[in-house]
Symmetry: C2
Subunit: 186 residues, 2 copies
């Protein structure tokens, strides 16, 4: 099953976000653009926020899906930047709305996923307590999350993206260092 109507709803909605801020988008206008019945919208989604939730969730999953196992965190960051650059306007409209919470929640989830993946690769050789691992996950997922959020807040400029990229490259052994710290080896 593919459900192309649902797909069309999502695509149309995103395209509308490229034009207007979220607050100006109505269900009525959306279904008219899609050429579907208003009830068909409500069949799939409770309301616009629910639609946004799903879109963001799926986008987050698709980003993760592209990198089932990650060798360097920079790769992920590059992918994320490339993805985001194509939808700057829509992302900013969602981000600057009441849906910001949804957005941040999923961004945090994506960060956590990548960090876990990456940390596990880096620490493959080092036997380390589960509790310590969790601390590392939590700490660095917040670092990633914060950096990306900052990038968004600063208008997703290429300059700042490069700056963040540099940080990632410089700190490429972060997980190892942290693990050593936790184990009192430093």
């Amino acid at each position: 099953m593919a459900n192309y109507t649902k797909k069309a709803i999502k695509e149309t909605f995103i395209s509308m976000l490229e034009e207007h801020p979220l607050s100006e988008i109505t269900v009525k206008e959306l279904v008219e653009k899609c050429e579907i019945n208003r009830n068909s919208f409500y069949y799939h989604y409770q309301d616009i926020p629910a639609l946004i939730e799903e879109i963001i969730k799926e986008e987050a999953e698709s980003i993760i899906g592209k990198y089932p196992s990650v060798s360097t965190i920079v790769e992920c960051f590059d992918a994320l930047v490339e993805f985001a650059s194509h939808r700057k306007r829509a992302i900013m409209h969602i981000y600057r709305s009441i849906s910001r919470e949804v957005f941040e929640r999923h961004l945090m989830a994506v960060s956590e996923y990548f960090v876990k993946n990456y940390v596990n690769t880096v620490l493959a050789g080092n036997p380390i307590a589960e509790a310590d691992k969790k601390t590392i996950y939590d700490y660095y997922k917040c670092v990633c999350f914060g950096l990306i959020l900052d990038w968004l807040n600063k208008g997703m400029t290429d300059e700042y993206a490069r700056e963040i990229r540099r940080i990632f490259l410089l700190k490429k052994d972060w997980a190892k260092e942290f693990a050593a710290l936790l184990q009192g080896q430093v």
Copy 2:
């Protein structure tokens, strides 16, 4: 109603034609690419030729729809060339198959539509017998049809498109001349 599944079938089919010749495309592969049930295909179309018929018909109608009233035939030709250039491979695959007949039938219809439209504009002032008008239609629709077919046969090159364009420009008063001939004024 929009029926996005049907739309997806058509789009997927065209994209497959960009890759393989028609003879290598199966219903099975098509529905797998679409991620729909095989029966859903057969619900909409009897078979692949029926699908092709509909695609060509709709494309022909859409070209006509873009030019409800035509001031110069060159405009139409330009539009047609622009349209065709985007889908060279798919068009060639259909054209070089058993579906050629469908293709030509609709191309003839499009030619007829444009010629009628154009001739009526040019001959607006000249009162002319219906039978003569019909002769003009028939003659020039075949000219258009033949030129475009020739262009296709020669691989839709830009050079030949320019050449045909020049012919259209040179013969921009064709309808008037022909009318005069029919009326024995020349």
